[in-house]
């Protein structure tokens, strides 16, 4: 383990420390120039306490490039500012207010740092940053400073920002939350008021010296304050109950609504019509408290949902902000939101394609890994379709836009994720069923109790109400969905996007994990594994020649070659270098003509055979004579070994299921210590193998990386796709690892187990509570207000218990894990 950690981003520094920043007089190690400059700016501003107060480390800082500055300049244009900037007309003439989304905020110290740093800048009048939504409201004087300069300041201290661009779902949730807060406020204040007068009535009842005049005044006042609580605050319960009855079902809201309506109307009748009230029949205080506590429970649930939604937002950040568009005879930089179908745009090598379109320049190669999972670049010819979010790998290309990014294939795939979140899990539906039967039973019991009490005893209404209130199976129905919501939110932040909500529960049942090899256990990136000189040539010399040829390119093979390069001065000068896309490179070194690439390209002798069938072979020829073979193969993901070890530690059977040749699969299985592996299987055979496992009563988790795994992913009990969004189109995968890190698999299993425990605790508590309290209510030993407090507290307990899952930490993988848990 490295002894040095970056003081700013807290990541380990593996090589010797090259950068230091002085903070509070101590030179602290820094991992990169980006972190160093950020730390120095923080120290220079006197904000060192940030490091002391923060509870989470920040992201590694990025260096600020000219391109970034250019992109930020775009936001100075009034047409760009339209959507997120408004003029403050009230006092000052040139004050503007912008809403920005700040990325990289992890705790309250970040908010403090950002606010205080920005406030020290001339021209900025006010800054207000919300920790929960990461939204910054900045007021500035447009004569003193430009918006792009303000945004640059955000980048200077290590954060990123972009215009606040809420989508429709965000707006709905935002208003839902505000409305809910209002309902809660009205119910809370209403409950306090009504309780105040109710206590006066109770006290008067106790000392029996309250005059009838004041008794009826107090009652009238309570009617006044309870009415908005019932009709405004409690309206969500009525709406939900009405929906349920319309669909001819009963849910817990039906029971809640009935309790409220019965209590309210009977109390109202007592006060308004039956003028000599028997005191116990007035329930205004219970109604208000009941509504207030129920709303607090729902509010927490709403917050968890809201939080979950926010944590899955980062996917949209994939796309670039701007691109070069052909306009009036030259290319100008425009925001990608401005792109329209038929626009002509230019994309430099290494850039992300910002929209769907058609290639109109010469043959090129693009990396569509994010869409298809295929890790090798794909060659595209003129008039071929280019997909939004794929990466242009080799040369500058031109394309004609066919669909804007918001309508592109990838955007459609992303929308599926959102709709998938709405699907209710099977087992949660079970809870609703339990609640339904329970409610029917309670209604039946309540009616029986009422009839019995009415004819043979007293206090009929009173007892029936308390039965209704006390047994409302609220906690029971909350027990499962809230826990799942919290777990899903937690997993989303880890980069595991759940698209079908049965996943969390099913994961806990999994006992067999099937991995695909290429792109799943391995990175899918090539690595130079073997050099075979032909005849008497020197291997090192051949490598040097090859590296020199590839030196200025940036495709997979070039990168693999350049990894071998220790000293950048140690290469030959190449003249007349030419790149043949998809084939190879030709060039002249020391008056010898070299070709490096596929066999057919490098050599005119088409009968030449690859030395073996493993991996990918590249041939180097000198003046058309073959001199050396290079072999490239996939490399293991850095985390794979630990992940497999951890999975074995929790007694899961691991199987490799690959379409690759037997040799590399055997080698990999041996390296990882996996006994069960299958090689050279086509998609149908893979399907059969998994089906057979399932016939043997195994619950299978399949982890695959795309196209060829689609059928097998759809049959597995739970399926995980590696960072390939397009799989959503076929909806075969249940979850997606957007961060492409296998560690999330272990974490997901761990969290699923915790989720199971917590759900069980919840159900146990809710069930016991209801069963214990029902007889007491029937016997009339529980007053309506006691019932209201009791059941609401039990709901709150269930919700708080579930919310523990949101921030659940995981055992560290690098520590040796022998755990059963």
């Amino acid at each position: 383990m490295p002894s040095n950690h970056c003081y700013h981003c807290e990541l380990p520094i593996y090589s010797t420390v090259k950068w230091y920043a002085t903070i509070n007089g101590v030179a602290r190690p820094m991992c990169c120039l980006g972190c160093k400059s950020v730390a120095e700016i923080i120290a220079a501003g006197g904000f060192q306490t940030y490091y002391k107060n923060r509870t989470q480390a920040t992201d590694t800082a990025n260096e600020i490039t000219d391109q970034l500055i250019q992109e930020l300049r775009l936001y100075d244009r009034p047409d760009q500012q339209q959507s997120f900037v408004r003029k403050i007309t009230k006092n000052n003439n040139n004050q503007l207010e912008a809403n920005l989304l700040i990325q990289g905020i992890s705790c309250a110290a970040c908010v403090w740092l950002l606010e205080n740093h920005l406030k020290t800048i001339d021209g900025i009048a006010n800054v207000n940053i919300s920790l929960s939504s990461h939204k910054a409201q900045i007021v500035w004087n447009s004569e003193v400073i430009k918006l792009s300069d303000i945004m640059r300041q955000v980048y200077y201290i290590g954060y990123k920002c972009k215009p606040w661009d809420p989508d429709q779902q965000y707006n709905i949730q935002f208003h839902e939350q505000r409305n809910f807060t209002k309902r809660l406020a009205v119910a809370g204040i209403g409950a306090m008021q009504v309780m105040m007068f109710a206590i006066a009535i109770y006290a008067g009842d106790f000392s029996s010296d309250l005059s009838t005049k004041y008794l009826s005044i107090f009652n009238y006042i309570n009617v006044l304050f309870t009415t908005p609580v019932v009709f405004y605050s409690a309206s969500p319960f009525f709406a939900s109950a009405a929906r349920a009855i319309k669909n001819s079902t009963i849910n817990m809201d039906v029971s809640i609504s009935l309790a409220i309506i019965f209590a309210y109307s009977s109390s109202l009748w007592t006060v308004l019509i039956n003028h000599s009230p028997p005191r116990v029949d007035v329930y205004f205080d219970s109604i208000c408290m009941f509504v207030f506590f129920l709303l607090s429970g729902r509010f927490l649930e709403l917050k968890a949902r809201y939080f979950m939604y926010r944590s899955s937002e980062t996917l949209t950040d994939l796309l670039p902000k701007s691109c070069m568009k052909w306009h009036n005879g030259k290319f100008i930089q425009v925001a990608i939101t401005d792109l329209q179908p038929n626009d002509l745009i230019r994309i430099a090598p290494g850039e992300i394609i910002p929209a769907d379109g058609i290639l109109i320049s010469a043959t090129c190669s693009v990396n569509e890994a994010i869409i298809s999972g295929e890790s090798l670049p794909v060659t595209k010819h003129i008039n071929d379709k280019l997909l939004c979010a794929s990466i242009n790998t080799e040369q500058t290309i031109q394309m004609r836009v066919t669909k804007k990014s918001s309508n592109s294939e990838i955007a459609k795939a992303l929308q599926l994720v959102n709709s998938a979140e709405q699907v209710k899990p099977k087992i949660a539906n079970l809870a609703t069923t339990i609640a339904k039967w329970f409610t029917s039973a309670v209604l039946l019991i309540a009616t029986t109790v009422f009839l019995y009490r009415y004819f043979y005893a007293d206090n009929a209404l009173y007892i029936m109400l308390s039965v209704l209130v006390v047994t409302c199976p609220c906690a029971l129905s909350l027990a499962i969905p809230v826990a799942i919501t919290a777990t899903t939110g937690n997993l989303n932040r880890l980069g595991l996007l759940i698209t079908k909500s049965h996943v969390v529960e099913s994961l806990n049942l999994v006992d067999t994990i099937v991995f695909d090899k290429t792109g799943t256990l391995t990175t899918g990136n090539l690595k130079l594994t073997n050099i075979q000189p032909i005849a008497n040539t020197n291997a090192d010399y051949c490598l040097k020649l090859a590296v020199s040829l590839e030196e200025c390119y940036d495709h997979q093979i070039a990168r693999a070659f350049k990894q071998q390069l220790n000293n950048s001065n140690d290469i030959f000068t190449v003249t007349a270098r030419k790149n043949f896309v998809g084939n190879g490179i030709a060039g002249t070194i020391n008056n010898n003509y070299y070709r490096l690439g596929t066999v057919n390209f490098a050599s005119s002798n088409s009968k030449l055979e690859h030395p073996t069938t493993d991996g990918q072979w590249v041939l180097l020829t000198e003046n058309n004579i073959p001199i050396c073979w290079f072999n490239f193969a996939d490399s293991l993901r850095p985390e794979t070994k630990n992940v497999i070890k951890a999975l074995k530690g929790i007694n899961k059977q691991i199987i490799i299921l690959s379409g690759d040749h037997l040799n590399p699969v055997t080698k990999l299985a041996k390296e990882l210590g996996i006994n069960h592996f299958y090689a050279q299987k086509n998609p149908e055979q893979k399907l059969e193998i998994v089906k057979k496992l399932q016939q043997n009563k195994r619950k299978v988790l399949m982890v695959g990386d795309g196209i060829n795994d689609v059928p097998v992913l759809s049959v597995a009990d739970v399926s995980l796709a590696m960072g390939c969004v397009a799989n959503l189109n076929t909806s075969s995968a249940d979850a997606i690892l957007i961060k492409n890190n296998l560690v999330a698999v272990v974490h997901a299993l761990y969290l699923a187990k915790k989720n199971h425990t917590i759900t069980f605790e919840n159900l146990l508590w809710a069930g016991c509570y209801n069963i214990c309290v029902l007889p007491l209510a029937i016997m009339g030993m529980i007053a309506p207000w006691m019932a209201a407090i009791g059941m609401t507290l039990s709901s709150l307990l269930v919700i708080t218990n579930s919310l523990r899952l949101i921030n659940k930490k995981f055992p560290n993988l690098s520590d040796k894990q022998h755990g059963k848990s």
Binding site: A43, G46, T49, N53, W112, S132, R178, K182
Partner: protein, 51 residues
């Protein structure tokens, strides 16, 4: 008990005012972020300015 005839209306008016203020504050976004203000207020006290 005559004082109650004045105090009750006053109490009711105060409640109406309180609800109005609260609703105004919610609409104004004061309740949108319930996490950071409670923590950020502590930081300024410990800030050690050097320049």
């Amino acid at each position: 008990m005559e004082s109650l005839d004045i105090l009750i209306p006053i109490a009711m008016i105060i409640v109406v005012i309180a609800i109005t203020i609260l609703l105004w504050a919610i609409n104004n976004g004061q309740f949108d972020d319930l996490e950071s203000p409670s923590e950020t207020i502590l930081f300024d006290d410990t800030k050690d300015k050097q320049d």
